[in-house]
């Protein structure tokens, strides 16, 4: 009784709003946790993907290996120049290193899922096809035949 009496006398502004605040923030948090993925590697090459209207989503993200091709970002240009380079994991590599990279990616997967591995080629739109062809030939030699040309959907107008 005394509790009721005291609160009605003082006419305080109710503080209950902060209760729902944490719920809202948690909901936001869960939203971001579900829709995003960890950024595993730092991008060392600039990749602006070309547009394509017929893109399909990659079904199993965990079964993909990323190969980035593009010109190095500003901070690496002094060292590596502006020619298109290949980035595997966290460092600049050459075509010859792709074999080891694919082998390592295969090892990380379970035996049953190895045949489902997709190599995701994230290539900048200004890159010339020469380097892409070299990469494709090397992938064929490693028999990593499922590939995907990463592209983005054009903005609807």
């Amino acid at each position: 009784m005394s509790k009721f009496g005291s609160s009605s006398n003082k006419k305080e502004v109710p503080q209950a709003s902060s209760n729902s605040l944490s719920d809202i923030v948690f909901m936001l948090l869960f939203f971001f946790m579900v829709t995003t993925q960890m950024r595993e590697t730092e991008n060392k090459v600039k990749v602006v993907m070309p547009e394509a209207s017929e893109v399909a989503k990659l079904e199993r993200k965990d079964l993909s290996a990323n190969i980035n091709i593009g010109s190095p970002t500003l901070q690496y240009q002094a060292k590596f120049g502006t020619d298109a380079r290949i980035q595997l994991n966290d460092s600049f590599k050459t075509v010859a290193d792709i074999r080891d990279f694919i082998a390592a990616e295969r090892d990380a997967m379970s035996e049953a899922e190895r045949s489902l591995m997709t190599v995701n080629l994230r290539v900048d739109q200004d890159v010339r096809m020469g380097i892409v062809s070299d990469v494709k030939q090397e992938l064929r030699r490693c028999s990593a035949l499922k590939i995907m040309y990463a592209a983005r959907k054009p903005a609807k107008d």
């Binding site: 948690f26 948090l29 394509a52 494709k136 030939q137």
Partner: protein, 189 residues
């Protein structure tokens, strides 16, 4: 006592905010979409000679180092490529210069399946953007043919069919795009 519990709830909100900020900084939105392809395996030494594909069954789409497009033998704008490919794959007038069709039995029904193969060739100097634009047109042509086929046979769009029906359509309208061995079609720099 009441005041204390309010404080505890307030701090959960702060903690949740911190977590939220952490996830915002360390994660990226999933943008993994693209054009999926299967590369041909490296041919063995023994079976090195190409299996002969009838000349009428193949269309060569070539992009040169200046990003100019050639389909068959003529230069072409990219906006016309889709219709050319569709005409090539369907061969509506049974032209002897366009690919032959083969009666194939799929799941108890016979369909006429085109034997056409699109061979995509590029130069080392072709820009990736042009290459993907052409790939996209080729996929679009096949997708539209699949849509037409599903409408005619199942009365629905391809994307609305069940998985088994989609498999039938995929077999009846195959996506035969071959990415040829790299060749230097233009002059070397």
């Amino acid at each position: 006592m009441a005041r204390r519990t309010f404080n505890a709830i307030g701090s959960t909100a702060d903690i949740a905010f911190l977590l939220l900020c952490y996830f915002l900084m360390t994660t990226t939105m999933g943008d993994q979409s693209g054009l999926q392809r299967r590369l041909p395996p490296i041919p063995d030494e023994k079976t090195a000679q190409d299996q002969k594909v009838n000349r009428r069954n193949i269309i060569i789409v070539r992009i040169n180092s200046a990003d100019k497009l050639f389909a068959g033998s003529e230069a072409m704008d990219i906006s016309l490529l889709k219709d050319k490919i569709k005409e090539f794959l369907t061969n509506p007038t049974n032209d002897p210069n366009l690919p032959e069709k083969e009666e194939k039995e799929i799941e108890g029904k016979t369909y006429k399946v085109s034997k056409g193969v699109i061979s995509l060739q590029n130069d080392r100097g072709t820009s990736y953007q042009a290459y993907i634009a052409v790939q996209n047109e080729l996929v679009k042509a096949v997708n539209e043919l699949r849509d037409e086929f599903s409408r005619a046979n199942f009365g629905k769009k391809f994307s609305r069919l069940s998985e088994e029906e989609q498999d039938i359509v995929k077999k009846a309208v195959p996506q035969n795009i071959s990415e040829a061995e790299p060749k230097d079609t233009g002059k070397k720099k």
